[in-house]
Amino acid sequence: MKPAFFIKEAMRSISRNAIPSFAAMASVLVTVLVLGVFIPVVQATTGAANEVRGRVLVDVYLKKDATQTDIARVQALLRDKVAHVGKVAFVSKAQAYAQEKKRNPEAYQLLGANPLPDTFRVTPDTPDNVLKLRDALAPAGVAGGRTPVDASIEQVKNRKDETTKILTATRVVKLAMGGLAILLIVASVLLISNTIRLSLFSRRREVEVMKLVGATDSFIRWPFVIEGVVLGALGGVAAVALLGVGKIALLDPLSADFALIAAPQTIGFGLLAVVLLVASVGVSAAGSSISLRKFLRV
């Protein structure tokens, strides 16, 4: 009898308090809608930023006359001795030539011999460490020039202006997105808990009376929690439905044209829907029972 009774109580209270119930549901709906748009956007943006940062690297050009043993020695050095090394890719003279020739056939037609050296493309462990990596490979000398750590290294180079620009730009983007995400989550929690608190506040007297005629805390709490679950679920389902419609009507036709929108890093719609539903139900159920706790102290 009890669960049925609690469910009946919750339904009765939803229908008797239609306006506060609607307000609670609407606030869940709006929040979930905004989150549902924002989560993929944040993911796509930070994904894009990370992808750009991934391009930051240091080129280690070897001397023209470097032998196979020199190459092996430098490779071992990069792999084991130098700090902040992430990935090391070797591009041989021949490979570099082939690549460049493909890109610029006429210019390379004019050149008889291959002017390109053997190269190591070294990616730092994290993009921010790129300058440290360069310093490790070619410490600045007293006189101002740089001396590479190995005799067969001709030059250590990072694409300087590009690197710092990428680093600062992507850092700003990521920080802004993170800040927005935190603000949005705080705002959602505040909005929902405030709506719940308001609707509970108007029923404070009711709770007080229930306690005075001998209702236990859990007897009072269950209908409220069920009410929260129902309203949260209604708001969440409505929001997810709207998101689905939006995705099919707006996003899917565009994604054929823009590669960015179909970026592989974003969360799948099904998973997003589940996450949003669980969050809306959980937050409103927890919100009602936490807000109620204060009123139960009679």
Partner: protein, 300 residues
């Protein structure tokens, strides 16, 4: 014979508390201060026995509601101990309070009905909190509503009822559990004399089933006519405790009782001894029922 009876009664009354059943209500030096200037109740000591019908009188702000609130543990005393059926209220934990309250029917001064429930559901709620079955509720609620004269108002909401009708709902809810102790805070507060008499008759009828009844009111003339025990508060102090009960015939039926209330100035009436004996037997039966609900470890 009569002298022997009375002597026995006296002995019973003066016996040490441990030798007899505990009082239903016992206040020992109870004070409640709401603040440095607002005294609610000051060192009140009294006790109420089972089956008694007691009036609590006093002008506005004298502390009647405070005393009632203390009894249901809505507020805590600042000093002293309160025992109900031998149990120290300060020992009841927060978790146990709802179970304690279910043994007490309360008619609140401001009714405290649930606004979004019908008359029927308001009364049923008092049973639902105790986990009563639907069958039980369907059996008990219409009965008590008929008894309180609300049979035609089952599906009205509190805001569709007159003040007197709301008061009756409050009484019905307080009594639907058949609690061994009934507290009524100004149950005739803003009612016309005729309706007041009706409510008092109802409380009297309830008292005759063995329930201890404590009624707070500032309608002193009505109380004096009823010839019951009267506790009077004045600015938080207990200034009068008169056991007038012995002057009233205890076995009047409700109609006679109502007639007594309507009399301009009733003469003290003495009932035959045999009747009083019968009343005491009835009270003892009710007491046993009370013990089932309020088990105490103070009795042998």
């Amino acid at each position: 014979m009569a002298i022997v009876e009375r002597h026995k009664q006296e002995l019973e009354r003066s016996a040490a508390p441990r030798d007899r059943a505990p009082s239903v209500i016992e206040f020992r030096g109870v004070s409640k201060n709401y603040g440095p200037t607002n005294g609610g109740l000051e060192t009140a000591s009294f006790s109420i026995q089972r089956g008694e019908f007691v009036f609590l009188v006093g002008s506005t702000g004298s502390g009647k509601s405070t005393l009632m609130k203390l009894l249901i543990k809505e507020i805590e005393p600042t000093a002293g101990t309160i025992r109900v059926a031998g149990r120290d209220l300060s020992e009841i934990t927060r978790k146990k309070v709802p179970y304690y309250r279910r043994n007490i029917g309360i008619v609140f001064q401001d009714f405290k009905l649930l606004p979004d429930r019908t008359v029927y559901d308001n009364v049923a709620y008092a049973l639902q909190v105790t986990g009563s079955s639907r069958k039980e509720i369907r059996a008990k609620v219409p009965d008590i509503l008929r008894l309180t004269g609300l049979a035609t108002k089952l599906h009205s909401f509190p805001d569709q009822l007159s003040g007197g009708e709301q008061q009756r709902v409050a009484v019905a809810r307080a009594f639907v559990n058949h609690p061994p102790l009934l507290l009524a805070d100004e149950p005739t507060g803003n009612l016309d004399p005729e309706t007041s008499v009706g409510i008092m008759q109802l409380l009297y009828r309830i008292n005759r089933t063995g329930t201890t009844v404590l009624v707070a009111t500032h309608d002193a003339t009505m109380v004096d006519r009823m010839r019951r025990r009267v506790l009077e508060l004045h600015q938080g102090r207990l200034v009068r405790d008169e056991l007038d009960a012995q002057y009233a015939r205890a076995d009047m039926n409700t109609a006679e009782f109502g007639a007594l209330l309507r009399e301009p100035s009733p003469e003290p009436k003495r009932g035959p001894q045999a009747d009083r004996q019968r009343e005491r037997d009835a009270a003892r039966e009710a007491r046993d029922e009370f013990d089932d609900i309020f088990p105490t470890d103070e009795r042998p």
